[in-house]
Symmetry: C2
Subunit: 602 residues, 2 copies
């Protein structure tokens, strides 16, 4: 189906918004009136610009406080409306959104409302314009989709239809049978469909709508369920996003438009719409089965290599064509890259290799979902690697490490002949990746739709210098776990460290071995252990051991989590994590203590 | 009375929080448990640090989910509590906060709750600790102050009292008679009083409390009214601030602590408490009667001087000791300062002179309310000027320009002999000052408490690149009007322009004269005027004139506002404003169009 986006959903000037929408592949736009008013372009210039960009103008919006008013007020409203119909002719827009009135001048008289809507539609049709009437969730007298439809039906004018908006319908808690009524509306009388999601927030619906809407799949509303009803009604117009969101207002229009369109592609897939990408069906999700490698890029190899060695890693390979070393310990593999990509700002976690059952299909799906595809030829002549960039810039490689039938990235490495000693470190427990603050919600949607990872609930973590947000995405079996973190607003996100948590079957042994090998463990405050003693019971000496090694402790309904941290090298540190008996979390409870210790250590 | 602040209200490490609280003049602190847990200081070291800083530890907090639980759970709770009582001994804290339970394990059995609270208090008293029991607004069974008090009264133990929290009481909408019940609690059984304000937000009370609390006087709750009841009950303990706020978490602890203490000083004044500053009564407010001058600091005098000349200003004086010129037009006076203070970042609005009935008293009050006092000797030998710094760094001078009995700043200027022609420009309509984003609420409180200006409601303004907030503060007669503006979060606030709005009785004439004198008016988009034509009726040719000159139009219930803008010089621009028939606003409706035009012009 055609996709559209309201200009209010993106930041910048009208020109910037239109350009971003077109580049992201939208077919059309809704022109938000205030964006036009503030633009130096004439309506004709906007029309031409859209045509040049291949965008149709699917809706002009909004017209407010129109219906169910005294005669003299309605006469003034009609005069105002005519002005706008004339403008729409210049703009080349043929549908206008009329929101149900919130005016104290309006009365609860359906016959009057219907009659005035009919007169408005008559006037509109003189200008070749159609009126799409929508119930605002906080409309004074009309605030449900079925009430709006009853008025439209009674008005019975070909230029009058209804506009459905997923937020206005779902925010009122409408569900089940009450939603099925949508299917009774003739599809061709649904003139427009606006789609928005939102996190479930218990607050007044106007504030909720104006500030907290998000793209479908980022929030808690069943937008897909609603869309199914609208499709069954026979609606074939555009799927259009109308998102009021304080964060998007500040975010760059280009990436936000890409995020927006990805959300619509995933939504179409969710409801079983075919040909969602305009060139055939979206390739099915290919869920990764593990972390093949992580890649650290560093201008100065010694500190990172020392850290890996102390953790028990051994340098097992040297890239045949590039200054990249392969280090291994158990199933954990780390690439140390000192090549030209090495950044000025020190050691960073630049890439993640995901073990994939079908790397090529995974890459095709990622590309279809608008992930930027990276140059494939990373390795030597024979080994191609499929890779895309995540929203945070991390390079994601789709790999088949140990399958003879597929080329493996590991063949690019000339073995050193050394193998790591077997220890209690078994592989990667999870990765923690810092997200741009304004793409925190989008990051979860990206990892779900592109990689097939399931998002967990978002949690707030109190850093001494501000609240952070953290949200895990993981495969059902926990083979891949990524904790996405972000600050609450623009600021020092780019300075925040990322980390690799290594899974160990014995964190005490691992920590001792690390220390004996010269590694520095992050010390934790004594008060923390005093509190642990108050909260849990431990064997004699156990807490003293934890305190000595800086091991933190958490317990959930399933099991326990013991974990400690290395000092930070550049922007990267390691965690040693012992997860037992099905513990599901990431030690978020302990994060404030760890963050304070890291601030103190810097 | 003694003042205290919970460490959770400030950002940073525990040490940074304590230092900030002491420097701002607080007498004590509440130690928030998580701040202690994350601190590398031992409890003894925290105790000593507080003693060195002259801070008492007035409360340790919080203890949760303690009462009305099955016996075995209570036994575990007591064990946990004993741990904390021992810790409090080391800390030298003698009162602990116990919040009413939210645990699903707790039962609605007052007798059991009371009995367990009594046993908890018995155990506490063994350690020399007192228990202050508080009803959380979202407590599972106990969520009102009177319910908490009934349990405390029934438990009847000398080491058990209640803690009152203005947020928890007022957030539930408790008022009138229901608040008077506070006066029935014996004052010595109110062990603690926590004060917090909040904006009225219709959302779930837990989220509201955790993220949106603010300092008393910044929000909409009647904290002063509540405090009066508590004082009548005979409470003589500390007035303590416990503020959970996402913004404060990111703000610098030092300025935030000063803001916090100012809010308590103003609150004490509001309830008629004497000796609020520890050294006698707070001097009464001295409301300014006008804007004496604004001062632009510039490294390059020509663009600013050209702009002033085009606006009809004449250079009427030259400072006797510094490179500062006085420019006048009507009652508007602008100082152009090219001295050493001239900043690298171009022309800025650095100072405002406020006409004051009693400059010395105004300065004494400002100082007592913790405004940083600036060096008095700004002028030549004889003319002292009282000045303080506003939270945004603007220097505020308290002036008496035309009163023979008082020294006038204007005597520092050697007249040039020239006088400005009389025009329709009469003086200053308002000033717009950009605030640091995290001090937006504090700025309103500063201007109200220190300067006696009344805040109006805060409004959101849609800039193309993010929502801005704007809030006016003004004298009742409008002689001084300041619009405080801020972005929604950390970012480019420091780059935002400030402006001076000149009052004119004929904006069309003023704009034409400005243009004829070579001035550049900010052009506004044609679409804006098309919309005006749809919304209002104008005389023939009127709109064309406005569009030609870039004049914006607004109307409220009282009157009309016509205004236009100069181009920006450095970080400053001018507005020409014609305010008629008691129009009360600042043209906020037009601000998005103006902001877009400014972005387009840059």
């Amino acid at each position: 189906m055609r996709t559209s986006i309201a200009t209010v959903s993106l930041s910048g000037s009208l020109t910037e918004k239109l350009t971003a929408a077109a580049r992201a592949g939208f077919d059309g736009v809704e022109i938000f009136e205030n964006d036009l008013l503030a633009s130096p372009l004439t309506p004709e210039e906007v029309r031409d610009r859209c045509a040049d960009l291949g965008l149709s103008i699917d809706l002009y919006q909004p017209m407010r406080d129109m219906e169910a008013v005294p005669d003299d007020v309605f006469a003034r409203n009609l005069r105002r409306a005519e002005h706008k119909f004339r403008l729409m002719q210049r703009l080349g827009a043929d549908t206008v959104l009329v929101c149900s009135s919130v005016s104290p001048l309006s009365v609860g008289d359906d016959a009057l409302a219907s009659e005035q809507l009919r007169r408005l539609a008559e006037r509109a049709s003189d200008f070749g314009v159609r009126v799409a009437y929508e119930a605002l969730a906080w409309g004074r007298h009309v605030n449900t989709y079925d009430h709006a439809w009853r008025l439209v039906e009674a008005a019975d004018h070909p230029a009058l239809g209804t506009c459905l908006d997923s937020f206005h319908i779902l925010a009122r808690g409408t569900e089940g049978k009450d939603l099925e009524g949508i299917e009774d509306i003739p599809g061709d009388k649904i003139f427009f469909l606006q789609l928005a999601d939102a996190p479930l927030l218990d607050m007044d619906v106007l504030r909720w709508s104006r500030h907290y809407r998000c793209f479908p799949g980022q929030g808690d509303l069943d937008v897909a369920g609603l869309l199914r009803h609208v499709l069954r009604a026979g609606y074939r117009g555009p799927l259009s996003l109308e998102i009021f969101n304080d964060v998007f207002r500040q975010a760059e229009a280009g990436p936000a438009a890409v995020d927006a369109r990805r959300s619509l592609l995933a939504l179409q897939e969710a409801v079983g719409l075919q040909d969602v990408v305009g060139q055939g069906e979206l390739p099915a999700p290919v869920v990764p089965t593990g972390v093949a490698f992580t890649e650290l890029v560093t201008p100065d190899v010694a500190p990172a290599a020392d850290l890996l060695a102390a953790l028990g890693f051994t340098r097992t390979g040297r890239h045949r064509g590039k200054p990249v070393d392969l280090w291994e310990q158990g199933e954990a593999r780390v690439l140390l890259n000192t090549g030209p990509a090495a950044r000025r700002d020190g050691t960073v976690l630049a890439a993640v290799g995901l073990e994939s059952p079908d790397p090529a299909a995974a890459a095709r799906r990622a590309e279809a979902l608008l992930a930027p595809v990276l140059p494939r030829r990373r390795g030597t002549a024979d080994v191609l690697l499929d890779a895309v960039a995540a929203p945070d810039g991390t390079e994601l490689f789709f790999c088949a490490t140990d399958r003879p039938e597929l080329p493996s990235w590991i063949r690019d490495f000339e073995p050193t002949g050394e193998r790591p000693a077997e220890t209690d470190i078994t592989g990667v427990d999870h990765l923690q990746l810092t997200q741009p603050w304004h793409q925190f919600d989008e990051a979860a949607l990206f990892h779900r739709s592109v990689l097939g990872l399931e998002p967990r609930a978002s949690v707030d973590v109190a850093d001494p210098y501000g609240l952070l947000r953290s949200r895990a995405v993981a495969t059902a079996d926990g083979a891949v776990r990524i904790a996405l973190g972000a600050g609450p607003g623009p600021g020092e996100d780019q300075d925040r460290a990322q980390h690799i948590a290594l899974a160990t079957s014995d964190v005490v042994a691992a920590a001792r071995r690390f220390r004996a090998a010269g590694g520095d463990l992050l010390p934790m405050p004594g008060n923390y252990y005093d509190d642990l003693a108050a909260r849990f019971e431990f064997a004699p000496g156990e807490l003293e051991t934890y305190q000595d090694l800086g091991i933190l402790y958490d317990r959930d309904a399933h099991g326990t989590f013991r974990h400690c941290y290395t000092r930070t090298v550049g922007r990267v540190f390691f965690e040693l994590a012992q997860r037992e008996d099905g513990y599901e979390g990431y030690g978020a409870q302990n994060a404030p203590v760890r963050l304070a210790a890291q601030h103190a250590a810097n």
